[in-house]
Amino acid sequence: MDPEPGVLGRTPAAMGDDPRTWTADQAVTVLHSAHYRSLVRTAALLLRRTDLAEEVVQDAFVGLHHRWGRLRDPEKAVAYLRQSTVNGARSVGRRAATASRKEPVLAADPSSVPDPAAAVVERDAVLRALAALPDRQREVLVLRYYADLSEAAIADALGISAGTVKAHASRGLAALRPTLEQVR
């Protein structure tokens, strides 16, 4: 997808410019158009499961719909969606892991690299190594290196300090480095 045009994306013409006047339906519609896909992808990377990722993000949007009357602020709403997605992925991931030994269904994209067979194996190894990290390290790495969030935004999404974000990022990356060095 193209880079997102700010927090809101485009606003349907029929809606007023002032987000405070939006109904919950309107707020969810606008934020869905700007953020749904990237949140689903974030959840898929956290869970290594595409099937559960949408469930988690839809729960987050339903939760936002209920809270919009109190939030009335797109920035806060996006922060809520991120927190809710990360927390949801964490609890769903635990539930899925204890409920079944089903293999994760998210794999590296074969068409993303010139020599697919070997490179897919290497990239899958990175995804497996990422999945084996402690929750916080994995969350920080995905929010930083996939979602491109600032340390402050990651700290906000995870409810931890910016210093802790930095520490998790550096430990997580160090743990992945041997696997990453195999990636061409």
Binding site: D25, Q58, V126, Y146, D148, L173, L180
Partner: protein, 333 residues
């Protein structure tokens, strides 16, 4: 590749960060959310259970809340629709409808607005029955529903087996939206359009704008014909088997992901890979979550480089013959 935006903090990336960014970015790009997710979210948001606010013993109060909730739902979503707007899969566990690859463009228009993959419905026939298929068209647009309707009317599908059910030259003369109702004004057809032709428009509009549940299609001078429509049930409308990836004429790498949607007997879709000359290379079966309910299916097959034709089909309950064969030529590099 690391052409994306740089992190907001200004420290240089640590060793390995570029590679991690590349693996995460390319992997994430394979994840395609389903059509109709907005409709599912809004439906759930308006259907929240009254029980969360009070004890079940307050049955009368809860019943009142339920009625009020239903009223809000009806007024904000239009009249009852046979299934959630924009949804091909009435199951609650949403799964990406194109699980493995980006929809490939059939045409790229230059225009304002964000790049979107527009869902467009076309018709296809098998054994004299006509049903709908879906493709994606990638365009830059601020008016996705209108562009999707024009594309559907044109019948210019990537797969030449698909067509429009509207006569050549039919144009979109007007489009307005109020709440969950879209009004579509089309130029004059020679005869009243068939149910399936109307559903081609209804499915296209409701998929490209999931907030729409009701579509008023009018046609002819002064709108002599006008019908207020919802999506008819998928079981009566959609082709029983869709092969979505590899999309028509694309070049892919092995292992090749075959995927699509189907509503089939015993939840079983059969697939086959042929050479262009028709020699069978390999075959297999894939399952959808539920029999006779539209659901995703997927299979992975390893193939040496070359040209192939992928086929997906259902087995007829009546005589065990192959039915609803959807086929796409593709190349493995």
């Amino acid at each position: 590749m690391t052409t994306g935006p740089t992190p907001h903090d200004h420290e240089p990336d640590e060793l390995g960060a570029d590679r991690l960014r590349s693996v995460l970015g390319s992997t994430a790009a394979t994840v395609q959310p389903t059509d109709g997710s907005l409709g599912q979210i809004l439906t759930r948001a308006h259907h929240r259970s009254p029980w969360v606010w009070g004890a079940p013993v307050l049955a009368a109060a809860a019943a009142v809340v339920l009625v009020v909730g239903a009223g809000v739902y009806a007024s904000s979503r239009g009249t009852a629709s046979p299934q959630p707007p924009g949804s091909q899969a009435p199951t609650s566990s949403a799964q990406p409808s194109t699980p493995s690859t980006e929809p490939s463009p059939s045409s790229t228009q230059t225009g304002n607005g964000p790049a979107v993959a527009l869902p467009v419905y076309y018709a296809g026939s098998y054994d004299g029955q006509t049903r709908l298929y879906r493709e994606f068209v990638r365009v830059h647009t601020l008016t996705p529903a209108q562009d999707a309707i024009r594309q559907a009317l044109s019948g210019q599908a990537q797969d030449p087996d698909y067509r429009t059910l509207w006569k050549p030259g039919t144009t979109l003369d007007g489009y307005t939206k109020q709440g969950a109702t879209a009004s579509v004004q089309l130029s004059s057809p020679p005869a009243p359009p068939s149910t399936m032709a109307l559903q081609q428009i209804v499915y296209t509009v409701t998929a490209s704008d999931p907030t729409v549940t009701t579509v008023v299609v009018s046609y002819g001078p002064g709108g002599y014909g006008s019908q207020t429509l919802h999506r008819n049930p998928a079981i009566d409308t959609l082709a029983l088997v869709w092969l979505l990836t590899p999309s028509y004429g694309t070049t892919v790498h092995s292992p090749v992901v075959l995927s699509g949607q189907a509503q089939v007997f015993e939840a079983t879709v059969s697939w086959e890979i042929d050479t262009p000359g028709g020699t069978v290379v390999t075959t297999g079966n894939a399952m959808t979550p539920e029999a006779f309910v539209v659901g995703p299916w997927k299979a992975t097959v390893t193939l040496p480089p070359g040209q192939y034709v992928a086929k997906a089909y259902a087995i007829s309950m009546a005589d065990s013959s192959r039915t609803w064969i959807d086929s796409k030529p593709f190349t493995v590099r």
